[in-house]
């Protein structure tokens, strides 16, 4: 196996992308994604990575270049954050409909205004419905491992969908921590060359992206939706295979100390690690609190999720994004909808925390669990509440 080394997570991600032998990278730098693409451009410039690095004038162009690239059968990577992701929005919808498996790492950051370069999930939640497969990383090792997994799943002929790996900006992207980069041989074993069935080739011309008249549009979308649901099986199989080759196990939904739990916290991303520490403390104090982490956000792993929260009385969903005017944060709305038809379902309370880089501490998680206990007896007045607001 590879050696355990100290690496900044962004640099480790770039090294993993190199190990995936990408052909094309098209990206525009934006904080806090910058170190990922900066290191990739160095690897290309030094000849360590035999790829084209396309410098573009905007994220809209970056994503456009990526689609053109992957359509010719080139393995393609990009990365962005916040406003950069928002600027890609128009093109993001096109990739899955054309079945173009670009892989992108999003270093999650708050959307303006006020201007914020710091971490939350508002950028990616605004792109919830674009039809890309989406995972969330909890730590540096997972960020790297999810990159290998993303290419493997996206380019699988049964899938052929673009893939976003979400990592928390700064909280993960700028952290130096122990990471094991696997030997190249194992990556090669895990990730076969990209061989799409159809590609743009002047010798065998085809059209991609023609107009969808009313007589076929809905059928095209139905086909896309069905294919996307079927991607779930490949996502999980690729994690089985990952475990076999690299020895680390990943699941669509993970649980922590959920045996006999009355209250469960639910969160996505790197703050789950802080939440685990809080759960340990509360368990020591005799409170029956557990933790559920969603790793696969799209396609939403409905069955895994329902199984994970079975028997819980109160589910406290912690959203890292605000959905203004809605009945809760995006994760809570998803959770409530997923549970509505389930007999004996847990009640759901929703907390919005850690917006725009505000720290979420162990004490904050304890407070949220305590509130969840309180709301078991007394129904909350509002469908969600924000944590840590200075009055």
């Amino acid at each position: 196996m590879g050696k355990r080394i100290a690496k900044e997570v962004s640099i480790a991600i770039a090294e993993a992308v190199k190990q995936c032998k990408v052909d094309v990278i098209a990206a525009y730098p934006i904080t806090p994604q910058t170190h990922i693409v900066e290191h990739l451009s160095e690897l290309v410039a030094s000849g360590e990575l035999d790829a084209e690095y396309v410098t573009v004038e905007s994220e809209h162009s970056a994503m456009s270049a990526c689609l053109g690239s992957v359509a010719t059968g080139a393995r393609t990577f990009t990365s962005t954050s916040a406003q950069g992701l928002a600027l890609m929005h128009e093109i993001l919808f096109i990739a899955p409909a054309l079945r173009l498996p670009v892989v992108m790492v999003v270093a999650n950051r708050a959307l303006s205004a006020p201007i914020s370069i710091w971490n939350d999930h508002s950028d990616i939640m605004a792109e919830r419905d674009i039809g890309w497969i989406q995972t969330f990383a909890e730590n540096g090792q997972e960020a790297v491992d999810l990159v290998y997994h993303a290419f493997r799943v996206a380019e699988d002929r049964r899938v052929m969908f673009p893939f976003i790996v979400n990592i928390d900006g700064f909280n993960l992207s700028h952290m130096i921590e122990p990471i094991e980069l696997p030997d190249q041989e194992l990556v090669d074993q895990y990730l076969p060359p990209f061989k799409p069935k159809y590609k743009l080739d002047p010798r065998k011309p085809i059209s991609m992206g023609p107009v969808g008249i009313p007589e076929i549009y809905i059928e095209a979308k139905k086909a896309q939706d069905e294919a996307f649901k079927n991607a779930y099986k490949v996502v999980v199989k690729a994690w089985d295979e990952f475990e076999r080759i690299f020895g680390r196990r990943y699941n669509p939904v993970e649980t922590y100390r959920m045996e006999d739990a009355e209250v469960a916290l639910l969160i996505m991303g790197s703050l789950a690690e802080t939440a685990m520490t809080a759960v340990d403390k509360m368990r020591e104090a005799g409170k029956k609190v557990g933790l559920v982490r969603i790793r696969l956000w799209r396609p939403f792993p409905l069955k895994d999720f329902v199984k994970a929260v079975k028997g819980v009385k109160m589910l406290a969903v912690i959203d890292r994004a605000l959905s203004i005017g809605a009945t809760g944060g995006p994760v809570a709305v998803e959770a409530r909808s997923a549970l509505y038809q389930v007999p004996g379902r847990p009640r759901v309370v929703n907390f919005i925390a850690g917006l725009g880089g505000r720290d979420v501490t162990v004490e904050d998680f304890e407070e949220m669990a305590d509130k969840a206990y309180f709301y078991m007896k007394k129904k909350p007045k509002e469908p969600y509440e924000m944590i840590g607001v200075k009055e």
Binding site: R4, I5, A6, E8, P32, I117, W118, N119, D168, F170, N171, H174, M175, I176, E177, P178, S270, L271, E273, T274, M276, T277, G357, D359, V360, T361, V362
Partner: protein, 182 residues
Amino acid sequence: MIEVRLHGRGGQGAVTSAELIAVAAINQGKYAQAFPSFGPERRGAPVMAFVRVSEDPIRTREKIYAPDVILVLDPSLPAIVKVTAGLKESGLVIVNSNKDEKTLREMLGGWQGKLAVVDATKIALEELGLPITNTTMLGAFLKATGLVDRDYLEEALTERFGRLAEKNKKAMARAVKETKIY
């Protein structure tokens, strides 16, 4: 778990120091996290960096609020920044200064706890020809905490600085000798 906060000025290498401590700790089999204070930093302005070192896997992403060790790279900072903020009573302040113990304790807001002092600016000017004190202060850190092994720290310096590593190791070695612990 030991939590360290570093204070420096933009350009003095506080973030590099934090990184080198983490690299040394991880290479000797421990667990560590190193991170900058997230956000835009300016050359010359007060900056902070953070390190956690533990025997067990670190499972928190909180900021550091109650550090065990404070490492001050710039002698002018204690007068303008409350560098002891949040420091545990049992904690340790390691500071670059040419002041005597009494003056220094006053500058540190009457800090009564453990204190380690070295004139790192003088050493850095003599050994490196530059007032960049980050590697010199790692010598003081080694002497005062013993949190990482010297061999691993020197290896991390070699990896990071290449042909400039020898000079920096010399500055670090002098700081190990010249650091006074009160």
